[in-house]
């Protein structure tokens, strides 16, 4: 069952003669539990796609179904709620809240939750658990600037899955890290994938793409092709290439 589906998604910046089409008729779908990478040269529409899939921006045309709910025309407050509950972000530059302890960073999405079922102590317990599962149970009270890049990215990953989102959206998660630390982060993401989480990673690196089940290649705002990385998806059903460049 697809957790995420786009139908004819387009994004145009500006109007009239100066308008730029950043995305054109992108249709794709991602299944629950899939580990998918998005690749493409700069200007290919990667960032635009990331922003729309992350509910940070709205498409100019087309539909975006998240868990069968059309989120493409929601207002800012509704999108904030979707981001809060359904999407976990991992950024290249970690993007932790400054001067805020690691634990408080991880608990932040839970505090912004509009779902008032849990007490604050319960939320903190969940956040602590998430910190432990990324191997930072002993760094709860550390501030971001007291942590190494790899540790900061682990905190960010803990923050991304603490709300049990529909999918995790990782934008160049190893871009700021040395190769060894990058490997650690990737195996952490792979581990989350093995636990059944849906992960969408945007990357320049063929190595990372090779680790994922499928790679969506973008060019000039269109899906160029979708490649199944057979070695990684022996359990998955054969997936046909959808909507390649026409």
């Amino acid at each position: 069952m697809s957790i995420l589906q786009t139908i004819g998604l387009s994004k145009t910046y500006g109007e009239g003669d100066v308008s730029v089409r950043a995305l054109e008729e992108v249709s794709l779908s991602i299944e629950t539990g899939e580990f998918v990478s998005v690749m493409g040269p700069s200007g290919s529409g990667k960032s635009t796609l990331l922003n729309i899939l992350g509910c940070l921006d709205r498409p100019s045309a087309g539909r975006y179904l998240l868990d069968s709910v059309d989120v493409s025309q929601m207002d800012r407050a509704e999108l904030a709620r979707i981001r809060n509950e359904r999407i976990g972000f991992v950024f290249q530059s970690y993007n932790l809240l400054p001067r805020t302890s690691a634990l408080k960073n991880v608990v932040a999405p839970l505090l912004y939750s509009r779902n008032h079922g849990r007490t604050k102590d319960e939320k903190l317990a969940i956040a602590r658990q998430a910190m432990e599962s990324v191997g930072l149970g002993d760094r709860l009270e550390h501030q971001p600037q007291q942590l190494s890049g790899g540790q900061q990215q682990r905190v960010a990953i803990a923050r991304a899955f603490v709300t049990d989102p529909a999918f995790i959206l990782a934008d160049e998660p190893t871009g700021n890290l040395d190769s060894q630390t990058g490997q650690e982060i990737l195996s952490l993401l792979a581990g989350l994938h093995r636990q059944g989480r849906t992960i969408l990673v945007i990357t320049h690196s063929e190595e990372i793409a090779a680790l994922t089940d499928r790679t969506i290649r973008l060019r000039d705002g269109r899906v160029e092709r979708i490649v199944r990385n057979w070695s990684n998806s022996d359990t998955q059903a054969v997936d046909e290439v959808r909507n390649g460049s026409r």
Partner: protein
């Protein structure tokens, strides 16, 4: 996020930027403190003035020569000269007429004064106010004799050369020696001291303690002789009329007005005298002090607004500085309302903290002001509430715009902000 969480976030942000927070609050602190001090000083002054004026004696009417208006600092203007020696003004006999003919009058005292040099032995004092009066004077003016006695109406009628001294005058002239029975030389006339008043202090600009009191007949004869006295009577500056109760005041004013107009052969419109009441004086004073207080309140209010603009300024800087933080919060699910509340709470917490410090500073300042100056100060609970309330209002008002700006930020651009 609930309010407690917003407050915690706001508090952390304030503590994380201590110096900036303090500088931001400074405007509010100064504004609130100045509101409290200014209101404290003017309310204290007002209370002191009212107390002193009430101390002049209750149910008292002042009948003055000429068209003198009562007002602070201009009470001893003598219009007699302007009106002309021959025509107009109060005369001594008017007082007796009032005492006899007006209903509800308890006591009448007359005053005519002169300024003379007073000598005792080698001590010589220039420009001493010589107050000529009648026997009822201490009672209508609420003054008490400390040593000796005041003169009687008989002594007034017989032009006895006696004197009663104000306290500080007695001290200057006689020092430690008992003045009773001694002789003072007033402008060449020898007067025997028969009493000393209790200390009275400064009332409406008149120092009662530095004056010399003597029978009015002596003043007429020795200090303000008039060629017309035989024809129209001895001119007096002021007649004090004490009435039975406040209810009698209005009718007494009317009766005195009619009586004097008839005696002076003028109409009420062109009366050569003025009747004022205690209440008039208090009202004049109050009008002046409340105008003063309003002015101070405006000045303080302006400083609060300046403080508010300071808060807005710093909050705008803070929003710009923390654009990325706002972006991160938006990414993890903060709605525009959450962001707005966060910054609004921060502005209000800053204002309230500034307001609280300002209240402490204001109360301390008012107390200190009262201690080092001789002005009386009162700390009004209402002024504390007013100042604190305005600080909160200023925080909300000036915090709203920056908070709204923060809430309107585009998450993509905010996240990209360096």
């Amino acid at each position: 996020m609930d309010l407690a969480e917003f407050l915690r976030t706001a508090w952390e942000s304030i503590v994380n930027n201590k110096l900036r927070s303090l500088l931001t609050m400074l405007g509010i602190i100064i504004g609130v403190a100045s509101v409290i001090v200014m209101i404290g000083v003017s309310a204290g002054t007002e209370a002191a003035i009212e107390e002193r004026i009430t101390g002049l004696g209750s149910n008292l009417l002042f009948v003055q020569s000429g068209f003198v208006r009562f007002g602070p600092g201009e009470r001893s203007v003598d219009f007699t000269a302007a009106v002309g020696q021959a025509g107009g003004g109060l005369v001594y006999d008017d007082a007796f007429a009032i005492a006899e003919r007006v209903e509800g009058v308890v006591a009448v005292a007359v005053e005519q004064s002169s300024v003379q040099t007073v000598e005792v032995g080698s001590v010589s004092l220039d420009s001493i106010a010589i107050v000529g009066s009648t026997a009822d004077y201490p009672s209508v003016r609420d003054m008490t004799i400390e040593f000796g006695r005041y003169f009687t109406q008989q002594e007034v009628d017989r032009k006895q050369k006696v004197a009663v001294l104000g306290q500080s005058l007695a001290e200057e002239l006689f020092g430690a020696t008992d003045p009773i029975g001694q002789t003072v030389n007033v402008g060449g006339t020898k007067l025997r001291v028969i009493g000393v008043f209790e200390q009275r202090g400064l009332v409406s600009g008149v120092d009662f303690d530095s004056q010399l009191y003597t029978p009015i007949s002596v003043v007429f004869q020795k200090f303000t002789p008039s060629r017309f006295a035989r024809i129209i009577g001895d001119r007096v500056r002021m007649i004090y009329v004490e009435v039975e109760s406040p209810e009698n005041v209005e009718s007494a004013i009317q009766q005195i007005g009619l009586l004097l107009a008839k005696r002076h052969e003028v109409s009420l419109e062109e009366a050569d005298f003025t009747i004022t009441t205690q209440q008039d004086i208090i009202q004049t004073q109050e009008a002046t002090t409340s105008a003063f207080r309003n002015l101070l309140a405006w000045v303080a209010g302006v400083s609060l607004i300046v403080g508010g603009i300071g808060i807005m300024n710093i909050m705008l800087v803070s929003v710009t500085e923390r654009t990325r933080e706002i972006g991160i919060r938006q990414a993890v699910g903060a709605a525009p309302t959450d962001i707005r509340w966060q910054f609004l709470t921060e502005a209000v917490v800053l204002s309230l903290a500034g307001g609280a410090i300002g209240v402490l500073a204001g109360v301390a300042g008012t107390w200190l002001f009262g201690a080092v100056s001789n002005l009386r100060t009162v700390i009004l609970g209402s002024s504390v509430l007013l100042a604190f309330g305005s600080a909160a209002a200023v925080g909300i008002f000036f915090g709203f715009y920056p908070a709204n700006r923060a809430a309107q930020l585009d998450p993509i651009q905010a996240l990209r902000h360096e």
